[in-house]
């Protein structure tokens, strides 16, 4: 058995699961509201129940998103020349030929940008959702909230499935981070050379 490196703490793993499940629930119920899908009643019983699920899943998601600030924000705001190189080659994701990606830290450039996008869209969708839910009597506020809630929703339905695909099927060996939080040291050296160097495990 090779030496394992801990990439995600237990708290991070639990929080990510809470976030993933609440996010999925929000997207599904969100589509239900967007297109008035009566079929949703087979799952939730009524739109009144679905509304409660959507609102409270939103609260859970928001708290969960806030908790990630302590885990990823600093890293997601740190960039160097390798990040620009990574962006120029698109992380090698779209290339059919195997390419050598620039050396990355604990999170790669795409993951950092993804995190910032989710953080921003998450803040927008949380604030606007709360306004739609709790504030009435201000027509302009409701209309702006309704519009921005749906704009942020658009980012979520594009970014989240892409994130899930890249973290599972597209990159074998990464999904275990969400379950165990650990990766074999050889894997870590290949994927996060700069982080390994920082940790003195090169």
């Amino acid at each position: 058995m090779s030496e394992m490196v801990r990439k995600a703490s237990v708290e991070e793993i639990i929080n990510h699961w809470i976030m993933a499940i609440s996010c999925l629930l929000l997207i599904i119920t969100g589509y239900g509201f967007l297109f008035k899908l009566e079929q949703m009643n087979a799952v939730f019983g009524s739109f009144n129940t679905m509304r409660a699920v959507h609102n409270w899943a939103g609260v859970i998601f928001t708290i969960s998103l806030f908790a990630t600030l302590f885990n990823y924000l600093h890293e997601a705001l740190t960039y160097d020349a390798d990040d620009w190189a990574w962006i120029r080659m698109g992380g090698g994701y779209l290339s059919r030929m195997p390419v050598k990606a620039p050396p990355m830290g604990k999170l790669n450039t795409g993951q950092k940008l993804y995190y910032l996008a989710i953080l921003l869209a998450g803040a927008v969708i949380a604030v606007s959702g709360f306004a739609i839910w709790q504030v009435s009597g201000n027509r302009m506020l409701t209309l702006v909230s309704h519009l921005t809630h749906n704009l942020a929703f658009l980012l979520f339905v594009v970014a989240v499935p892409a994130h899930a695909y890249l973290g599972t099927l597209a990159n074998p060996g990464t999904f275990r981070i969400m379950v165990y939080g650990t990766v074999p040291i050889e894997f870590a050296r290949k994927k996060y050379p700069k982080w390994m160097k920082e940790m003195g495990k090169k």
Partner: protein, 256 residues
């Protein structure tokens, strides 16, 4: 099943015929079993001051003196306009909460209303109201009555014909014959189910001259809703194609 399609029904409201008796308000409360609420004198006959979840229609009393007429007192029936292209129905996220009857009335189902109040923002006429249980309440053109071929309670009780109910085309034709070149609501929002025969500019009667569904709601409906399907579908299809054509990332091949 009837072989002829039900013609769209409407109300024709003629303020010049209204004597301000408010029989329509009383008949509405009576038929719809709506409670009377404590009110207060604000120095006008308009009472209650506004429509509410238990007051589906009111007569708006406005004093608009002009140079030729020092005492001009206008009585205008205010209620849901039963738009053909209804903003409330467009923005409503709950199926069946707001619906069109075959006569063209915008009716509601309290049990299916989820109390989100988005319809208030979508309505160009500030009509939807909410009760203490956060359920919508508004004029539904007496959907139960008109389904049985009766006229709405307000039109039935109006003693002067200021509120007339009938086939929408017929009402428009009769008003044209009576000398009204253009009716308010003839073409707005796909045509309103409440038509007004005004002798003056609608603004004088306190009406919105150019009612429309908010631009943001139209943009959301026409652009964002399709994009949310295209976006999700595109990513899922992209992932599938990537998996099939490129396949999962293989570390061994890197840097060869």
């Amino acid at each position: 099943m009837s072989t002829t399609e039900t013609k769209r029904k409407a109300l024709l409201i003629s303020p010049e015929l209204c004597i301000g008796c408010r029989g329509c308000q009383t008949a509405c409360k009576s038929w719809n079993q709506l409670p009377g609420l404590p009110t207060k004198n604000t120095g006008t006959m308009q009472n209650p001051p506004d429509i509410s979840a238990s007051t589906f229609n009111i007569i708006r009393y406005s004093e608009v003196p002009s140079q030729t007429n020092a005492l001009r007192w206008l009585f205008v029936s205010r209620r849901c306009m039963h738009c053909d292209d209804a903003g409330c129905m467009k923005i409503c996220p709950a199926p069946g909460a707001l619906f069109k009857t075959k006569e063209g009335a915008v009716a509601f189902n309290r049990d299916k209303c989820i109390g989100c109040k988005l319809c208030v923002a979508g309505c160009p006429f500030d009509v939807p109201r909410y009760d203490a249980k956060d359920k919508i309440g508004k004029c539904d053109l007496c959907a139960g009555r008109i389904a049985e071929g009766l006229s709405p309670a307000c039109a039935k009780t109006c003693p002067t014909g200021a509120i007339k109910y009938g086939d929408r085309d017929g009402l428009i034709a009769s008003a044209k014959k009576a000398g009204y070149a253009k009716l308010y609501g003839e073409a707005d929002l796909g045509g309103l189910g409440a038509l007004y025969a005004f002798k003056d500019a609608p603004k004088i009667y306190g009406m919105n001259e150019d009612p429309a569904i908010p631009e943001s709601v139209i943009f959301w409906h026409k652009v964002l809703k399709p994009l949310s399907i295209i976006g999700l579908g595109g990513v899922l299809a992209g992932a599938l194609i990537h998996y099939a054509a490129v396949g999962p990332h293989k570390d061994e091949e890197e840097g060869k």
